[in-house]
């Protein structure tokens, strides 16, 4: 039988260490909504989403109340919309109509974000993909709750450099289209390499074509819990040695992270199974992630500091992050029947107070963040850069991240925000989960000739496994 200490431990994680389930995301296939008529397509999409996800928010709230665990977000991911709108969209404006329909459906079922305004163009672009991509700036300016993603490469296909080049322009245009709101459109747009089909986290969530008609994916979190466990570890060693400071060795450190990740993930597994049962929708995966928020004590950067670097960015940061990421997976995998999505530690800048502090202290640069993305989940995330950064430089950054993903057989992503009218020294405030960010300097030497070549970079040799 459960004992009092265990109950106190769980509730302390929830109440004092920000343990929560970050998102229940319902994946919905919209493939059967495709029609040659735009209005019919929009009507079918609206009906399918509002029918399947009708009870999603209420169910999430019920589960949260009954188990006493906050479930922060209830979200929806959909089939990459370029696959659905191909038959009926002739101009980018047609896709914007679909975006507005999706926004209305998301609002009416009460979810805060819907992801999947997406195209998968890792090898080539269809006409429909390109129309969709060109509609992104307008769509993100005209909607509130829609997130967009474009997958420009994979280990199996190589990198579509035409798409990379185009995305440099699209990010700039999105920034321009929302410049009256500090280019907020770019916070909802991510460029990916090796994008997973079952990611529940935004902005990169979409419901891949390999998935069932509807599915429940859950993203867990809890950086505060890991940090607290590590602090306790060091303190207990200090007490044992009767010294002011204790330093647990890596073996102990890793064991502690694994044990904590296991506990966090078990809660996610429970919530996912319950949500799946109550909604009558199959359980897909748990995404084992440490996802920070701007709240104090909910920071991945703080874990890195606890492991021993003064600020993220100091030498040793990449190794500390690699270890953290690996232990989170090792602990989490055993706690869940199906693991997928991005699974790892997220290192967004604006959404993590410790990262913001590191940038402001001068410890963390984009180049170091790039190195860190080699060993953790995802990539350059929520980074504000000067508004006059050229599209070709942004494309160069995307190409670099995609190469890291392609060669290391992992997901990488770029979500950067060229904040129009702002420069290094300024900051930008988005509020809520998106947080605030100091504008970070970008290398100003040109990448133009490189990204203007066109074509694609072939798949790496180790992708040929047959």
């Amino acid at each position: 039988m459960i004992n009092l200490q265990e109950v106190i431990e769980t509730n302390k994680m929830i109440e004092q260490e920000n343990l929560d389930v970050r998102t229940i995301t319902m994946g919905i296939s919209l493939l059967d909504c495709a029609d040659h008529d735009l209005k019919v397509t929009c009507d079918k999409i609206y009906k399918k989403i509002t029918t399947l996800a009708r009870d999603l928010v209420q169910t999430g709230e019920d589960i949260a109340k009954e188990f006493g665990i906050p479930i922060v977000n209830k979200r929806i991911s959909i089939t990459p919309i370029s696959l659905v709108g191909g038959a009926c969209c002739r101009i980018p404006g047609d896709y914007v109509q679909i975006a507005k329909t999706l926004d209305r459906a998301a609002k009416d079922v009460g979810v805060n974000i819907l992801g999947g305004y997406s195209a998968i163009v890792s090898k080539g672009m269809t006409q429909s993909d390109e129309l969709l991509i060109r509609s992104i700036p307008m769509a993100l300016a005209a909607t509130e709750r829609i997130c967009s993603s474009v997958n420009v490469g994979s280990t199996k296909t190589g990198i579509n450099m035409d798409a990379v080049r185009l995305m440099g322009d699209i990010i700039r245009q999105t920034a321009e289209a929302t410049k009256d709101r500090d280019s907020v459109g770019c916070t909802k747009l991510v460029v990916l390499c090796n994008a997973p089909d079952d990611n529940p986290f935004m902005a990169g969530a979409f419901h891949g074509v390999s998935e069932a008609d509807a599915i429940i994916n859950v993203g867990v979190s809890g950086p505060g819990v890991v940090k607290y466990a590590l602090e306790q570890m060091d303190e207990s060693i200090a007490r044992k040695n009767r010294s002011a400071q204790g330093l647990a060795n890596f073996e102990l450190l890793c064991e502690t992270i694994k044990r904590t990740a296991f506990k966090i993930t078990r809660v996610g597994q429970l919530v996912a199974q319950e949500a799946s049962r109550r909604l009558g929708v199959p359980f897909g995966i748990i995404d084992l992630s440490l996802a920070p928020t701007p709240a104090i004590g909910d920071s991945v950067a703080d874990i890195l500091k606890c492991i021993g670097v003064e600020h993220p960015g100091a030498p040793g940061t990449t190794a500390a992050l690699a270890m953290l990421n690996d232990q989170v997976k090792k602990g989490g995998v055993m706690a869940s029947s199906y693991v997928g999505g991005l699974s790892g530690a997220f290192i967004p800048v604006s959404e993590d107070q410790g990262m913001i502090d590191a940038v402001e202290a001068g410890a963390l640069t984009i180049e170091k963040l790039e190195a860190m993305t080699c060993v953790c989940s995802v990539g350059l995330d929520m980074i504000a850069i000067p508004g006059d950064t050229p599209a070709t430089t942004i494309a160069g950054i995307i190409a670099d991240e995609s190469a890291i993903g392609m060669v290391n057989q992992k997901t990488t992503a770029v979500r950067i925000i060229p904040v129009i009218g702002k420069n290094v020294g300024d900051t930008v405030e988005y509020g809520g989960l998106f947080g605030h960010a100091p504008i970070m300097p970008v290398n100003t030497f040109s990448s133009q000739r490189f990204v203007d070549r066109g074509g694609r970079i072939p798949a790496p040799i180790h992708s040929f496994k047959n």
Binding site: M1, V7, G68, K263, R266
Partner: protein, 90 residues
């Protein structure tokens, strides 16, 4: 059997267990186990209860217990047992 865990946390107060137990008895909720301890000067108590014969729905029990807690100046929470089981048992 639907089992839940009720926790009471706060400064030690006269009659708090009595109030919670009376409420449970009035609603046909059976107490299976009780334990308590003092952590950092705070009174911590937990009860494992059986909700099978409860006359009220979980949601109502949870809000009413919360109110009893607020009226007495302590925190009373009611959670389904599964969350603790999942986290601490393999």
């Amino acid at each position: 059997m639907t089992r839940a865990i009720i926790t009471v946390v706060g400064k030690d107060t006269v009659g708090i267990i009595a109030k919670v137990c009376t409420y449970l008895a009035d609603n046909q909720i059976n107490i299976l186990d009780i334990s308590q301890t003092i952590v950092q000067e705070f009174f911590n108590m937990m009860m494992i209860v059986d909700l099978t014969k409860s006359v009220k729905a979980f949601d109502q029990i949870s809000s009413e217990l919360d109110k009893i807690g607020k009226d007495t100046g302590v925190q009373v929470k009611c959670q389904l047992e599964d969350i603790f089981d999942k986290m601490h048992r393999i």
